[in-house]
């Protein structure tokens, strides 16, 4: 499932996703450093394509553009968007993973860069994480224009949340909106999954079955729109699974957030 999400990167870059797919991919992006790196590099490739189309515009375009900007005030910079969490956060080496060989490829191996945001930076990190969502969509007018599906859940009037803290100081929060029919997982200071594994998320239905709802492959602060209808879900679970995820949980849940305990 998430594997097919990764495969959307190229179509995303050339604008070939439909609106629904784009929402899903954009909800996935902030939590997936691999996809972020790939989107950046493929955008450069797409820009190269445009060189094949070069055409000198009429002078009238220049005149109207330069006249037009006089009436428009540029937006102020967004607070905290100039850096992504993985770019300048203090890195804490995780002993279990130091044996990894450096990646030889020409793709920036962001997934292998384990990191942890310092707790003191947590407040700043929240601002950063919120900002990241916007800047992946350079055509977006501003933060008030179109909210991503995840942001709509977070902003919904019927949003309910339930949180859990882990012993290492990280935390996870599930926000569910019945009106939006969706749930979002927010993580703070989440550790990376074990090497070669993912954290898989599950929506538990009324019959107690766990349905796959997404993957987290990286450490850090995530805002992840869970796939699937969350209207009647009773809980959200997290398990360790193979990198590409499983159809059913193969390990005991690390956490189960009970939506019956969720509060407005």
């Amino acid at each position: 499932m998430t594997e097919s999400l990764h495969a959307l990167s190229g179509a995303y870059v050339v604008g070939a996703l439909d609106d629904h797919e784009r929402e899903i991919f954009e909800a996935h992006l902030p939590g997936c450093l691999d996809c972020q790196a790939e989107v950046v590099s493929l955008r450069e490739a797409a820009a190269v394509l445009a060189a094949d189309a070069e055409l000198t515009p009429p002078e009238s375009l220049r005149v109207s553009v330069l006249a037009g900007i006089r009436a428009i005030r540029p937006l102020p910079p967004e607070a905290g968007v100039t850096s992504l969490p993985y770019e300048d956060g203090p890195k804490i080496v995780q002993p279990a993973e130091t044996s990894e060989a450096p990646a030889p490829s020409n793709v920036v191996p962001m997934r292998r860069r384990r990191f942890r945001i310092a707790t003191l930076a947590a407040a700043a990190a929240v601002i950063t994480a919120v900002g990241v969502g916007g800047t992946w969509q350079p055509w977006q007018d501003d933060t008030t224009s179109t909210l991503s599906a995840a942001d709509r859940v977070l902003a919904a009037s019927d949003a309910q949340r339930v949180s859990t803290e882990f012993t290492d100081g990280s935390s996870a929060t599930v926000v569910r909106s019945v009106k939006e029919g969706k749930a979002v997982l927010l993580t703070r200071n989440m550790a990376a999954p074990p090497t070669g594994k993912s954290f898989e998320l599950w929506l538990r239905d009324a019959q107690g079955r766990l349905l796959p709802a997404g993957l987290m492959t990286t450490a850090g602060d995530h805002k992840l729109l869970l796939t699937g209808d969350a209207t009647k879900s009773t809980g959200v679970g997290i398990t360790v699974e193979p990198l590409e995820g499983s159809e059913q949980p193969t390990t005991k849940p690390l956490a189960m957030l009970e939506l019956s305990e969720a509060e407005a």
């Binding site: 604008g15 972020q36 450069e44 797409a46 820009a47 394509l49 060189a51 037009g68 967004e78």
Partner: protein, 211 residues
Amino acid sequence: MTRISSDPSGSPFGEPEATGVPQPVTGDDSRQNLGELLRRSGRGDEAAFAQLYDATSSRAFGLAVRVVRDPSQAEEVAQEAFLEIWRTASRFDPAKGSAVSWVLTIVHRKSVDRVRSAEASTRRDTTYHQSNAAVEHDSTAEAAQASMEARRVRLALDSLTEVQREALELAYFKGYTHTEVAKMLDLPVGTAKTRIRDGLIRLRDTMGVGQ
């Protein structure tokens, strides 16, 4: 004013093509310059924005024409895009790619929105034959004034498989969704997006960009 565009005054065929190690299309210098121009534009510097316009307008306009087709509509789209670029310049983040790709992403997005809304009803009837004809490389007039960079892009495009190239061109230059591309190229559902991605990856690696 400086215009970076195809310049016929040079000797387009006098110099051998660069061989061996691929050179980045946008060297670090021009990248930084355009990024700096964007940053100054974000602070309301109109002269900086004029320079940015001059450096990117032929790519932006050419892209809009390729996608929208009608030159006067393309001009409208390009104008909208540049005003948007001015307004949102402060949101450009050099850590997430070059200024050129940021500018062109906005132009492309606006262009695709335009064709999708304008042609939503009529385009369903487009036959493969028609669309295939449209995928052919551009007119001789454009080809004659192709810059060195454009010629390098074509060589790079030639290194793609036919399906990769067609899928990429239908998506990027014609604004079709990957689902539509799959139908047009008779590909199994879900494989067009893979061809598009593979094509972009090969293009990226051949041109040595985005690393």
